[in-house]
Symmetry: C2
Subunit: 360 residues, 2 copies
């Protein structure tokens, strides 16, 4: 079976085996050591000295946490969006009462830092910029280095959806000055879903002190206090997912961060070259094509649903369809986490065989 | 090792083995069937025809979800509390802007339904009652049948923290008319933490339609729509925890609900009798002693911290201390989920041996 959706990603056997470990007391020493070690390892992957909080929830929970801990109702925020997940990030802020200005770009393209500069100049009252580093719905990676540089010029908070980027694509949190970055355990981390990992800068903590959006479960302050004072989470954490994540982090450390990034770059190149060699077109602007997910246009005369079905049922290859307005127009190959070039070649061979069967 | 804290609870080998199962697409058919089956099984344990939602998060997340989906800022709610978790439930409502009236009872005792009746009569504007079925911090089970009957007389919503009760202690949701009941996978369900399971009545849905507290991640409406239309969760769920929970549910079904409840009653009787035979005193009013957790007073001259340490390091028995104002005053024995009378006898033998070592 090749599970190649952009998450959950397949887990290595070592990770799955770690999941059989019996429960321990989440208020005990053993768990504390596990939590502390994973926290430090995560900081190295995030390339940050910021606080790192491990929350029990999906990646979307991490995004909600980023919003409610740093903003107040009525705050003006700029939501940069190049797809479904960028829209969602803005929706979260709006749901909690922020005044959201949307800066949208055509799906398949990356955000233009110049347009962002103009938008920030046009409204100096904007207190936070929300941006997706890697847009899973379109297979585009934003130029976050340039975006972050523009945000730093004028000073709002920079809240980053790094769900499908950190740990797979270079995101040096401190170098770029990202205030909150959220990801999920089921992406590049090679672990099952259930944990959201979030970095929080000093500037974000200053915002936290003034932020008035209601919060309880996602409260960063409680999470930091329990971590620093007791090596615990405030609420019972997803213990076995942390067992898995710890093994994934060890594997990443062994491979080295540069090795992990290079592997993702190599695998995604195989995916893009292979797709094109089959006569298919990439959906994303190739200059900004993602190293974790490749979106492919469904060609005229091919039934996308049938294609995914044939791949799944006859070749054991599970790919993802398009989301929202891209439903039926693209399919997506996830290549993040535990993936090698040979996996991608297997996917491409299956795709070649399946395409003629999915006509009509 | 005897992990006997009131959660996480030990998982049977079958559950742990299920956790090694490889990830599947959470938008695919296989996951949909798993989710649907677990949802139906949960309804049988909750003894309800209400909607059942499986959310990724801790039990506290389930409580937050209960609040934010049914209430509006400014709503008057009555928070019945007999301990730390009752206080927390009220704190959640207050954090989201409810006007919370606290109806507290001495820790170690149960809530008095008559006092509740008086409080509800005194303020007919109360739109919801928050109550903990089983108070994990004190080892007391509230008389929820009587409490629910009182609430039904005057008509507010009844939101129930069933985190450490449903699945271990009888809680017939429909018969008692509970509008929202929340629990967590790491309690009686014999699974690892990471999922919150919540039942939602028609009356709660009517409240949902008018409720204005901000919500996104915990939104019941999205969860219901994704479940009913696609057999999916809106956000990536904790897939492997669901694998574990599914096995736990099968085991519970095989044992029968009455069998599960009887086992918990029997084990807790062994715990209480054994504790008393060692000359120790129960913290809880025995008429309302919990069948899932037993709180024991630390006798004069015994160092509670030392006692837990000796039990852990020399006997492999992990118990919990007291929370908040009970820190150092009680210890707690968890006996819910995967537990037999012989486990309790082992705990008691260890306790007998450890007590003399923990003087001073």
């Amino acid at each position: 079976m090749q599970l190649r959706v952009p998450g959950p990603t397949p887990c290595p056997e070592e990770v799955l085996n770690a999941m059989t470990r019996q429960m321990v007391n989440h208020r005990g020493k053993e768990f504390g050591e596990l939590l502390e070690r994973a926290t430090e390892q995560l900081k190295r992957v995030f390339q940050t000295k910021n606080d790192m909080l491990i929350l029990t929830g999906s990646g979307t929970g991490g995004l909600e946490a980023a919003v409610v801990n740093t903003l107040s109702p009525g705050d003006r925020v700029l939501a940069v969006s190049i797809g479904a997940f960028g829209d969602r990030f803005g929706d979260i802020a709006a749901a909690f009462g922020a005044q959201v200005t949307r800066l949208g770009f055509e799906w398949g393209t990356a955000a233009d830092p110049e347009a962002l500069r103009r938008a920030l100049k046009a409204d100096p009252s904007i207190s936070a910029v929300l941006v997706t580093h890697n847009e899973t719905s379109t297979g585009v990676t934003n130029d976050l280095a340039s975006i972050a540089a523009v945000v730093r010029e004028s000073g709002p908070l920079l809240l980053v959806d790094g769900v499908s980027s950190v740990g797979s694509i270079n995101l040096p949190v401190d170098e770029w000055g990202c205030d909150v970055v959220a990801t999920g355990s089921q992406k590049g981390w090679m672990a099952p879903p259930g944990l959201a990992m979030v970095s929080v800068s000093q500037k974000a903590w200053a915002a936290f002190d003034k932020a008035k959006m209601p919060r309880f479960y996602w409260d960063f302050g409680k999470a930091r206090r329990f971590l620093n004072e007791k090596k615990q989470n405030p609420w019972t954490p997803a213990v076995s997912v942390l067992y898995g994540l710890a093994v994934g982090l060890d594997m990443m450390e062994k491979e080295t961060l540069q090795g992990v990034f290079a592997r993702h770059a190599g695998v995604s190149q195989v995916a893009r070259d292979g797709v094109k060699s089959l006569g298919l077109s990439l959906f994303a602007d190739e200059a900004h094509a993602s190293n974790t997910v490749t979106a492919v246009k469904i060609p005229e005369g091919v039934n996308g649903k049938k294609l995914l079905q044939v791949l799944r049922e006859e070749h054991g290859v599970v790919l993802a369809g398009g989301q929202q307005k891209l439903d039926g127009k693209i399919f997506r190959i996830g290549h993040l986490g535990w993936v090698e070039e040979e996996d991608m070649r297997e996917v491409l061979r299956a795709l070649e065989a399946a395409l003629p069967r999915a006509r009509g």
